[in-house]
Amino acid sequence: MSINVLIVDDSSTMRKIVQRNLKQTGLDLGEIFQAGDGQEGLAVLNEQTVNLVLSDWNMPNMDGLGMVQAIRANEAWNHIQIIMITTEGGEAKVQEAVAAGANGYVKKPFTADDLEAELASAAA
């Protein structure tokens, strides 16, 4: 079964880089959606079936952590895997994201291999 992915980042450049790296991972990809902040991300989830969310942390309106909390507060979205991709590299931030319900964490800058390894360990 192919997976639908939502990429959330306030930088359009970074969304393109994440999408490009995602296509190099060998995952069986279905549709790829993009959003510029957490609120836009939740709006996409309300409209579309998404299996994997790749999200930045620092964004306007609603940040990545707020979006993770909102996703995990909705049972209908329990199945969604969430990976944070962010410059927020500190251990306490990683713990905070995991406690909120993120399944994995990739620090910027990153390579396609970093993303692939994190997706594999989150899926395991």
Binding site: T87, G89, K93
Partner: protein, 158 residues
């Protein structure tokens, strides 16, 4: 509070450019101020605040900024006047600031980054409150085209 050395800045910049842009910038100098610095075409300013505070400023010519945007987007034709260039240069500034704040405040967890602010068309003078006189400039080049990373910090910079 750990100090940030020139070598730290060099390593942060190298790591970002190698993994996100696929290029290997050369270090030109750690100290020397270049007269042309603030006459450059585009700059990204990212502030950080919290347990420690300051700013990180990434500056280059509009020509190099456009090349960097093309490398990040993997597009051959990027319009220098487009938002793509602002966004790409801003994201480079964001990543450099993210790495440096993690160094200035171990792990970086108690420090928040601002959004990147883009300055275009250069010709400005950078002035910092005298209590924040810990200023460091690092110059690099890619194929002869210079770019600059400046850091202003409330903490000593080695």
């Amino acid at each position: 509070m750990p100090t940030v050395t020139s070598h730290d800045i060099y390593e942060a910049v190298q790591g970002i450019f190698q993994s996100m842009l696929g290029v290997n910038p050369q270090l030109v100098s750690l100290e020397q101020e270049d007269e042309a610095l603030h006459n450059q075409g585009i700059a990204a300013i990212v502030g950080y605040a919290g347990e420690s505070d300051g700013s990180v400023i990434f500056t280059c010519s509009l020509e190099l900024g456009t090349i960097l945007a093309g490398l990040m987007l993997m597009e051959e034709e990027v319009d220098p006047e487009s938002e793509d260039v602002d966004d790409a240069v801003g994201e480079i500034g964001n990543m450099i600031a993210g790495q440096l704040k993690n160094l200035v405040c171990e792990g970086g967890d108690e420090v928040q980054l601002s959004i990147p602010v883009i300055v275009r068309d250069g010709n400005y003078r950078l002035s910092v409150p005298s209590s924040y006189d810990r200023w460091r400039l690092t110059c690099f080049h890619i194929d002869g085209a210079p770019f600059y990373v400046e850091m202003v910090s409330s903490e000593p910079l080695e």
